[in-house]
């Protein structure tokens, strides 16, 4: 019989090896599934993991898509992970992402057609503030009245979605849009357009912010007292209070940071790859980022890798559907396998397997 035994100290080796093992296990299990479906498993795996980046036939389209997809996921996940480390559960990043896009985008549209250099920076600031303010609602309710932040932040997503629908049909509707819902297209308003900085890589300001956020978050969690306090609070609330941490204040900080980053992600998306505020421009990045945060073990560098990996399976998955006629459900199953193996192998960081009774 196999038994799990808790390790006295977490294994460093496994912490590093487990993602590699997980990806290999996914390739094997996924390969078997693709073979049963009648495709060449090696070709399918190559199409998902290799072709989007390196196959000259597809790379010109799909390579930029990688950062376009991974950028917002990473940016949002970095903020969420800081709170998650402290046991503060912001599940409503999707709503904060929407509010950032509406407020930041709305401020930009208010100046149309003025052409000035400060418009886009102002939009960025307002986008971040919009997300942060939306996140403050569950944070203050939690800190003052101890409401459940999971529930409040999640329900505010649906409120934000309704505001988004109202905005794209009403206040922010393009006056020259022949009655179609949706705002003016930011691609045709240069002062407010988040254009690609390096088109061949998909690099835009949102991706730059995501990379900066990774570096700053890594430093803060490792070297700054604020990051240390977040970690202590997540470990043990009582020990944290003994160390002088004020839990209510940490709730506010964690929500403001994650809301700010989610709001920024929304603003960069809507003014860049998204193009306009419509009632359906949000595509679930705020929820997927929760997966990315845990995929990265709540560690900023892990989130960077996790965001890129998840982004890759999305693009590669689309490619495989297109090229190999694989059913969409099989791609989702493949992504599910990846998550399963990543989380399953993480267990061995803290536990060892014992054989015997």
């Amino acid at each position: 019989m196999l038994r799990l035994e808790k390790r006295k100290n977490p294994s460093r080796g496994w912490a590093i090896a487990s993602p590699v093992v997980a990806v290999l296990a996914t390739m094997i299990a996924g390969g078997i599934m693709f073979a049963i479906l009648g495709s060449d498993p090696i070709e399918a795996i190559r199409t998902i993991f290799w072709d989007p980046i390196f196959n000259p036939q597809f790379a010109s389209y799909s390579r930029p898509q990688l950062l376009v997809k991974a950028g917002p996921l990473i940016l949002i996940a970095i903020g969420l992970a800081m709170g998650f480390r402290a046991g503060i559960w912001n599940i409503g990043a999707e709503g904060q992402y929407i509010m950032g896009a509406i407020i930041g985008g709305g401020v930009g549209l208010a100046f149309y057609p003025l052409d000035a250099w400060w418009i886009f920076p102002l939009m960025v600031i307002c986008g971040g503030l919009g997300g942060a303010l939306w996140a403050l609602i569950p944070a203050i309710l939690k800190a003052k009245f101890n409401t459940n932040e999971i529930l409040v932040s999640l329900l505010l997503v649906y409120v934000a979605e309704n505001i988004l629908a109202a905005m794209s049909l009403g206040l922010l509707r393009n006056p020259e849009g022949q009655g179609f819902p949706g705002s003016r297209n930011f691609k045709s308003y240069d002062a407010a357009h988040n254009d690609f900085l390096i088109p061949s890589l998909g690099m835009h300001w949102g991706v730059v912010f995501a990379f900066v956020a990774v570096a700053v978050a890594w430093y803060v969690m490792r070297y700054h007292q604020f990051g240390f306090r977040l970690r202590v609070l997540g470990e043990s609330a009582r020990a944290a209070r003994f160390a002088g941490v004020k839990p209510g204040r940490m709730v506010i900080f964690a929500f403001v940071i994650s809301g700010l980053l989610a709001g920024l992600a929304g603003l960069f998306e809507v003014t860049g790859p998204g193009g306009q505020i419509t009632d359906s421009f949000n595509s679930g990045y705020g929820f997927t980022a929760i997966i990315v945060a845990f995929l990265g073990r709540l560690n900023p560098l892990g989130i960077l890798a996790g965001g890129l990996l998840l982004g890759l399976t999305y693009i590669g998955g689309e490619l495989a559907q297109l090229m190999l006629n694989l059913p969409g459900a099989s791609i989702q199953a493949f992504q599910g396998m990846l998550l399963f193996f990543l989380l399953a192998t993480e267990l061995f960081t803290n536990y060892r397997v014992r054989i015997g009774k």
């Binding site: 006295k8 009582r238 020990a239 003994f242 160390a243 002088g244 009774k357």
Partner: protein, 501 residues
Amino acid sequence: MNHPLLRLDGLTKAYPGVIANDDVSFDIRAGEIHALLGENGAGKSTLVKMIYGLVQPDTGKMELNGGGFAPSAPRVARTSGVAMVFQHFSLFDALSVAENIALGMEQPPKPAALAGRITDVSNAYGLPLDPARLVGDLSAGERQRVEIIRCLLQDPKLLIMDEPTSVLTPQEVATLFTTLRKLRDEGTAILYISHKLEEIRALCETATILRGGKKVATCDPREQSASQLAEMMVGTSVTPASGAQTTTGSVVLRVDGLSLPPQSAFGTSLKDIQFTLSSGEVLGIGGVAGNGQDELLACLSGEVTTRATTLHFEGQDVSALGPNARRARGILAAPEERLGHAAAPDMSLTENAVLTGAVREGLAPNGIIQWGKARAFAERVIRAFDVRTPGPGVAARSLSGGNLQKFVVGREILQNPKVFVVNQPTWGVDAAAAATIRQALVDLAAGGAAVIVISQDLDELMEISTGFAALNAGRLSPTVPMRGLTLESIGLMLGGADAAA
């Protein structure tokens, strides 16, 4: 008798880097109270875990009543007639006694029938307990009764008790001993783990002593003196802390009219506490757990702030200051619960050094943590207090209780406190380590600091305190000089009577 009840033969269990038990063999006969003695880390816990099926030996075997016995899980051990009362209770505050007991049973009978059986057993063994009461309202002694009755309902042949008296008042200890002797007379074997040598000499017929994972001796404790037993445990002779008889200086801490409503459903309120504390003084605060000890420590450490003017330090009102502001001024504390309060379990010792040392040791100037400096500080604590650990990088939870206690107390003492408040400084700590900690507290006071020791161990308080006050139902008695107090007068104070009478 032909067979002993339980025969341990060459039990060995190794963990990475340490041999917890090395070829341990001894017999436990039916109807005896058998003491298991040893320092922290001597391998007592591992040994009883093997008997109770929580871990399996690497080599060696056990025989129960002459038959092979290799429990793969506690459930198997329980069906074979082995029961255990743990040092830390696993009870739910919000459930009743009967509900708690039903939770631990494989096939609990109907509630009414169970309540009847609980009452029967509790009457038969002199353990008064109302099955309908909420566990949250029970004293530590009564909670232990719940655990004992839970075991007795299984009709055990061997009852293992891990440090059962550390949470009890002298009266409760007497009740417990009566129960244990009655069980023994009925043929139940009891394996009794304790640090209190006098207790063992009073209660047990046989004692097995472990040191460094090996069996040192099996002897009759009644024929040995306490210091002989201690020497066998430690390997060298143990000297008690030299009493604190320093002259006291000026008043550093003044507590006046400190009251606190209960912080949780089962918390205790503090009622109009007042005392003064001078430098060089060791104030011993006695009392049974649950009478406001945790709450008092929280008020002094700054985890809970109280009404203005209730707390003066060196003449200044510090009532509104949080823990770190108080640390900056020199008020340090070490709470009772080591894991999860004084230390974060999954964090390394270095990180735990930052937990309280950041302010006074300057480990985080401008908010940037200096990990090198923090590590050096953790290493200093480890060296100064002989904390047995592979290094400061290991998780706090991987240390044994006594070693972690040395680290937690040492971490505060090395920061040169002006006022040091410690709750249960030697709870679950072996004799040698306890002596080290007590000596450090005495030395701290001799160096001019004021020390408050909150403890249930009256011997400890008599050994190191200069003054004594009793905490009872959230009220603190006036402080009286320790010199001249007898156990009897202390007992009266704990009961709420005025010591001056």
